[in-house]
Symmetry: C2
């Protein structure tokens, strides 16, 4: 018997993704988003939801582009900071000692220090409620050489991303491998 | 200098959520989704992307409802299984020894054995590409008493959800707390 606890966003876990955009005068901005996820395989797309008050909201609308810079758990402080203050008031790259690099394929900057980058072209916007969802087509992935395995794939154990819990309002490390997907469930297959 | 590795869904990490629906004759079905995330705070909403070939796709279209049952890492085998086979061919609840419970508020079943449940009413569908995104308004959260803290909140350390890596095609445990969100980044605030 389960306990009913009302209509809340208690969906665990959430990713911690840093959205990079250009504002006026090509000022680079970042903000941290957790209302996000992959939303399509073909074309490869991610969805990120933002509120209108965010500087990033207007930036994406104007430039039709954004990046996702995925921080490692060693960069949680920088990522948390990017979600705490508004890009309309401060240059967060400078304050957090991060380097803005212009994307190769889209009109948005990414965070050089973070290991895994998604360059995204705005594909669709979806009005939901308080949040607007931006669906971005991933046009390129960029990764530090150090996080690639022998096949050239960025592995989770090297990228070391972390997650956000909407119930605890805290970040958590990702730990050891639990099992191979599309494989461990075969024991039930009849 | 980062290495370009092309347009891929290498966005880390993804949640592992089990989508519950009713098919014809009220047959309960589950399928595991990782192309998913929170997408709005007000109203509280989650987005889950499915391909048209899935039994769950037609079920959600007809019933305008679905649940998300969030498995703990102890239930990774059952969750993986629910993603491996089609609900058009087999009753996955029976095969994986899981119990279907009718939701209190929406026309969809959830998995009794999983610790955290979202009852969702279909709000919008978004055609993206190969995947269609289903945006569900969370009308109630249900949780096992055992995963609640003293304030009645389901904590990540008790729910013990796990993540999926689209680069490694593997599941990973979530480990220890890294820091408090909206707090650790204050050190950069000026």
């Amino acid at each position: 018997m389960k306990k009913s606890i009302g209509a809340k966003v208690f969906a665990l876990p959430s990713p911690v993704w840093v959205v990079g955009t250009y504002g006026e005068n090509n000022t680079p901005n970042i903000m941290t988003a957790a209302w996000a996820g992959i939303c399509c395989s073909v074309p490869p797309c991610v969805a990120v939801s933002l509120v209108k008050a965010r500087a990033s909201y207007g930036n994406i609308m104007k430039r039709k582009a954004f990046t996702i810079s995925i921080p490692s758990s060693k960069q949680a402080t920088e990522a948390d900071y990017a979600g705490l203050v508004s890009g309309t008031k401060v240059d967060k790259f400078t304050t957090a000692n991060l380097t803005a690099v212009k994307s190769e394929f889209v009109d948005a900057p990414y965070v050089e220090e973070f290991p895994l980058i998604l360059e995204c072209r705005l594909k669709q916007t979806v009005e939901i409620g308080l949040h607007t969802q931006f669906i971005g087509e991933i046009v390129d992935i960029k990764a530090d050489e150090a996080v690639l395995n022998e096949k050239g794939i960025p592995t989770l154990e090297k990228v070391l991303p972390f997650v956000y819990s909407t119930t605890d309002l805290a970040y958590y490390h990702i730990g050891e491998q639990l099992g191979q997907a599309h494989s461990i469930g075969m024991k039930f297959k009849i």
